[in-house]
Symmetry: C2
Subunit: 735 residues, 2 copies
């Protein structure tokens, strides 16, 4: 397959789709994401230059969230005094095309308006520079098929779209520079330089309270392009803290040069990271779209930063970092860009302080990571995270204080990074502390009944949690949570052994406190006493104590009970709560992670049981089902799950609301999940480090019938491999 096919296109203008297209046509460079909205859109159509890792709280009754920078891509066209813009002039549109070139990382737009005198066409191309992290660029061209007098208002729009804003309480506006300043002192500056082309008759700058606008007047001849190119720079007061190198505005940069750099970057990138799926162009495009999408949110500019659950597509979910990163996205980076993988994990090292504080606040020891993490591990999750659609009241939810499996995801991320990269350095850069404190956290969660029910052994239990299926709050002995807690104990022992060996070789590396020996002894004693999950006669693992006793009805039946489509399904008033219907993979995720501990029959029995009971109300769900289906050797069942994950942001979204809260935006975990399905599921990659420290790479492929060949590169333990898999053959070559 040739690379030129990696283009996402939408024809025709659809006013209603602005939110979806803003996400689907996202560009970005890790420092920021820019939504694929039209240049002329104001805040009501959700344009955003969403900045990574910079947060603010606008007022106490609102939620802390990431910031959107003043928008330097704003531009509006007037021809012979008539405004030609969307959506106002939608009735004049005779051609419209929206394009995202994944091959070159550029967003294209072309719109032709039919006026009384003839046709006027706007063409734009724009990108977020992958090589200059604070830099955006746009070229805006107009051509008319008749002579006219035109004006383009091009500028920096400081009236940004905010969900829990407005954040900027004061502005500093000078020619071509807008600085928005928050009460917290955090500020964001956008500066830009327009270089007009064509027959410019006048140019003046109008500075408003929040915006600066360049009014460019043209005397346009039929068929002769006019317009401008613009280089823009976004800087924040936290750049020095977050970024590896200071971000400066460099107005010497030229649009064409930047564009060439951009094309080169992506060319190099795809050489390494393109995944070829011969026999399935649709799947190939979707998966590479996922890869593109992960890459444009990768925090390559930072030492320690992670990826929000909605990427850089806006402020949905507060721009916060969830378990999504470690559980779903991390593998892509480990196998393609280990440096960024380490950056993601170092974010958690920096977040340890917040996690220790949260544990203390909630009455536990160790590290209780934020369910919705902001900088320094601050918990951004409200205890009232859902709005009741009938009363408008905030409802007490338990995402932050009961979804205790979050800390296990961090440890699991460490484990994956260390074993697959072979790079233990993270452990000595704070990672070991993270792992140990996660273990301490789960130890402090363990409870035991003094006089258990007659006939039952006295076991260690974890009560009153929320598992991955968030619809059932406050459950006990969630199988996933319990197994992950045990994993943390196991990996802590492993990490302590690794550390001890390394310290033996190099005593200056790290001080190994004696208390850790006590911890080791304690963990060894504890692990066998942990309660086992309950299993029914068919081998189905009960998701939590009492789950099998809940009403057993179909997802459709539960859906039919909704009185308002925006209702939250979970929580004790939700339609799913009293039933066995779950939001997303829970037991299935556990089985996918610990697949080597279960028979195929058990995994299949659990798939058969849980799949029809799963709403897949989270984009994290399909890929886990798909992975397990691959492990059960039914890749054709897995295939729709794969497409669902990879295409999540390509197809129109089904569910934009949960309990009154807008949840649109992009789905990095789903992209990462699709990638995992490809590599671990269909290709069947196994990386085993267990045998006497020696690692091995093997494949147990399960290709869908209609796939001919899957090819990709990957890096394991510092070595780069090319992989080619057909139905008959596996080729693994170091390159």
């Amino acid at each position: 397959m040739s690379m030129k096919k990696l283009v996402i296109t939408e024809m025709n203008y659809n006013k209603e789709a602005y939110a979806h297209f803003g996400t689907k046509f996202l560009i970005g460079n890790g420092y920021m994401g820019v939504r694929g909205t039209m240049e002329e859109y104001g805040a009501e159509y959700m344009p955003a230059v969403n900045i990574a890792g910079v947060y603010n709280l606008a007022s106490p009754e609102k939620w802390r969230e990431s910031l959107n920078a003043p928008n330097p891509f704003f531009a509006k066209l007037f021809v012979d005094g008539e405004e030609l813009s969307l959506p106002n002039s939608a009735d004049k549109v005779v051609f419209h095309e929206h394009k995202l070139c994944l091959t070159c990382g550029i967003h294209f737009r072309k719109t032709t308006f039919k006026t009384a005198k003839g046709n006027v066409t706007i063409e734009t191309q724009r990108f977020a520079s992958m090589t200059n992290f604070n830099t955006l660029a746009i070229k805006y061209s107009v051509v008319s098929d008749y002579d006219c007098l035109s004006k383009i208002v091009s500028g920096i729009d400081g009236v940004v779209w905010d969900i829990n804003g407005p954040h900027f309480t004061s502005f500093n506006v000078t020619d071509n520079v807008v600085t928005g300043i928050c009460d917290s002192g955090v500020s964001v500056t956008t500066s830009a330089k327009d270089i007009p082309f064509g027959d410019v008759t006048n140019s003046k700058i109008e500075n408003g309270e929040k915006s600066t606008m360049n009014e460019l007047s043209f005397s346009a001849k039929k068929g002769v392009e006019f317009g401008f190119s613009k280089i823009a720079f976004v800087q924040t007061s936290l750049d020095d803290k977050i970024s590896k190198e200071p971000r400066k505005a460099n107005f010497l940069l030229k649009y064409d040069d930047l564009r060439n750099e951009q094309k080169q970057y992506w060319e190099e990138f795809w050489k390494n990271s393109f995944v070829s799926i011969e026999g399935d162009e649709k799947a190939e495009i979707a998966l590479n779209y996922s890869i593109y999408s992960l890459q444009i949110v990768a925090p390559r500019h930072a030492n320690a930063l992670s990826i929000p659950a909605r990427g850089l597509s806006g402020q949905v979910y507060k721009g916060a970092v969830f378990w999504d990163t470690e559980m779903f996205m991390l593998d892509y980076f480990i196998l393609n860009d280990p440096k960024t993988a380490k950056t993601l994990l170092k974010y958690r090292v920096d977040g340890l302080k917040g996690a220790l504080e949260k544990a203390d606040r909630e009455g536990y020891n160790g590290a209780f990571y934020a369910w919705e993490s902001h900088e320094d591990g601050i918990e951004a999750c409200s205890k009232f995270n859902v709005t009741d659609v009938f009363t408008g009241r905030a409802v007490r939810t338990y995402f932050d204080d009961k979804q205790v499996h979050i800390s296990s995801a961090i440890a699991y991320g460490m484990k994956k990074y260390v074993s697959m990269t072979g790079d233990y350095s993270i452990l000595f850069e704070g990672g070991l502390d993270v792992v140990v404190e996660c273990a301490n956290f789960y130890l402090s969660l363990l409870t035991s009944r003094i006089f258990p029910k007659a006939g039952s052994p006295r076991k260690l239990e974890i009560l009153d949690v929320v598992g991955p299926d968030e619809y059932h709050e406050r459950v006990s002995n969630n199988a996933y949570t319990n197994r992950m807690a045990k994993f943390v104990f196991e990996f802590t022992l492993e990490a302590l052994n690794i550390a001890k060996k390394a310290i033996k070789k190099n005593p200056s590396l790290y001080p190994f406190p004696e208390s850790l020996n006590a911890l080791k002894a304690g963990l060894k004693k504890i692990i066998p006493d942990m309660i086992d999950p309950k299993v029914n006669k068919d081998g189905v693992i009960e998701q939590f104590d009492g789950y099998f006793d809940l009403e057993d009805v179909s997802v459709d039946e539960v859906r039919s009970r909704l009185k308002d489509p925006r209702e939250y399904w979970g929580g004790s008033n939700g339609v799913a709560y009293p039933t066995q219907v779950i939001k997303q993979a829970d037991v299935v995720t556990m089985l996918a992670i610990f697949k080597d501990e279960f028979e195929k029959e058990t995994m299949q029995a659990n798939l058969d049981y849980y799949e029809p009971r799963t709403e897949h109300g989270s984009s994290l769900s399909a890929c886990m089902y798909g992975l397990l289906q691959c492990f059960c050797d039914v890749p054709d069942c897995a295939y729709p799950m794969f497409l669902k994950s990879a295409e999540v942001d390509i197809v129109a979204p089904k569910k934009l609301w949960a309990g009154g809260i807008y949840i649109g935006g992009s789905h990095p975990a789903s992209w990462g999940g699709a990638y995992q399905m490809l590599v671990y599921g269909f290709a069947g990659l196994k990386h085993n480090t267990k045998t006497k420290g020696k690692s091995s790479i093997s494949f147990d492929p399960h290709l869908p019938k209609h796939w001919k060949r899957v090819s990709f590169n990957m890096t394991i333990e510092g070595k780069k491999y090319s992989v080619k898999i057909t139905h008959d053959k596996v080729e693994l070559n170091q390159i």
Copy 2:
């Protein structure tokens, strides 16, 4: 004060008040209660002959509830062909009086209709015989001030008011006898005999599908009374099981004889149980109304039966028995009618089987008594006990499976009975098993964290419960529940000692199993390890873990957040849930029970803190606040609480709905609470059995300022005393 004042009267007809008056003018005899509705009312105006202890489930999607018998008091008047009935002829009413004579236990009604020709007056008197438990009697007289032709349709109406019915799926109707038969096989038969008086011109019986009606025609002369008297009998297929003696229909009984017996019974009764409050007629009437009300629901006919939370006023709360009996009503019976007190407790002995089964079902040992108990301790409480008013959906509630303090109430009832009556026999008639199994239950609830938070000792906790304040579901270490669990352990030790001593004297009494010695040792070890309640700097005890962190707003503010007055305040979507506003006394109940363990300052600090945060949304609340206010020596603050409790069913109800469920009906716990306030609070009775087995009676009176003298009789340890208390003097005389 003379006894003739003990009359409750309502003048004027108020159509809307039918539900309230049905409750307020209740008559009954323990076997059944008859609502104070008009004779001509059909099911829509909630007449009921509500039977004690007989339950049925109409269909799986409904709730099990008590049964209403076919109504033998039905009668309707026609004068010259014109129906004169309420509410249809309300516009013709020129006089209306509704009266309940507490002194004689008779309900009176008088209504004068103005017709085109003149006035027609109906007068009725009716009662439930206190001496013939299955017997009802009515006298129905009419007099007109002009000559007329009249017809009275008098019969047995089988179309009964049901909440979760209809229960009777088939009927057997013969002349003057209606039997309603449930699918379960349970049947209820009402038979009746009309004896007309006046100039009867015709009499014929019409039997319908569910009813039998006697059409009595009269040629009435101006000023000459006509009508009928009727003796009716109610029998159920469970009479032999429940009642001490078989219930027969005895048509030889005459109305006047029965009425004389009734008057004699009540005369005797008041001689013993009247409480005089000199200086406060209102309080005196209200308290004696409470005493009357308790007496008409006392199961004197049964060996082992208890009183439903809504008495015998209908099927509200399923006709089920709650903790109300042991915590609120029992003391009245202990001090006035110890035999009935024992009957109430024997109900719990019979219910042990159900309690053991419930504990097993819910994963515990021992006896987990039903939150809403039906016969044999069957749990009648639904796990979906509240309806969301916005969606119409049943909401998962935790009354049955988390309100674990219920079992402690049973043990507490045993303790009160044994110590105040001095009668240990209940222990050897199953009571000791009850107490021991309650202890086993609480033992199995105890959990411990293996690695508690750094700096905290490892303590035994009770997690995830619902305390008396039901608005906050699923809380941990509810101070009341924990203290009551400890009480159960303490009383179990005491009861075992009592039993051991008694067995030593009389080895044939009871086999004392060796395992109980182990239990004793275990309890002694456990008690000191139980977690102490958290106390703030002012001595305020935290209701449960995290209570002080909840939003601290006023009851009015919380009420103002309701979007629908029928909303349930509790549960995680309720307005009270995220706040410190509580439904009813919780910590305060604990302090009132264990008052000797606390300083007066502590009790006052807790009153000051909790009272403004209490909605008093339960009729169980005011009396506990009032009691504690007496113990804090502020009886004038307690006085409004006393009136609120004693007058609960006299004044118009404020709240008839909770989460879409009708909760009207009478309030026996509130009557009993008012009685407790009088005896323990204002009179300050203390009965102490602790000193070397020797008991003592003392008084620490706290009379409200305007009270002159309180006088009452009581029976303690088999001895009857008269008590007279003024502000200066206490007189206690054995009589």
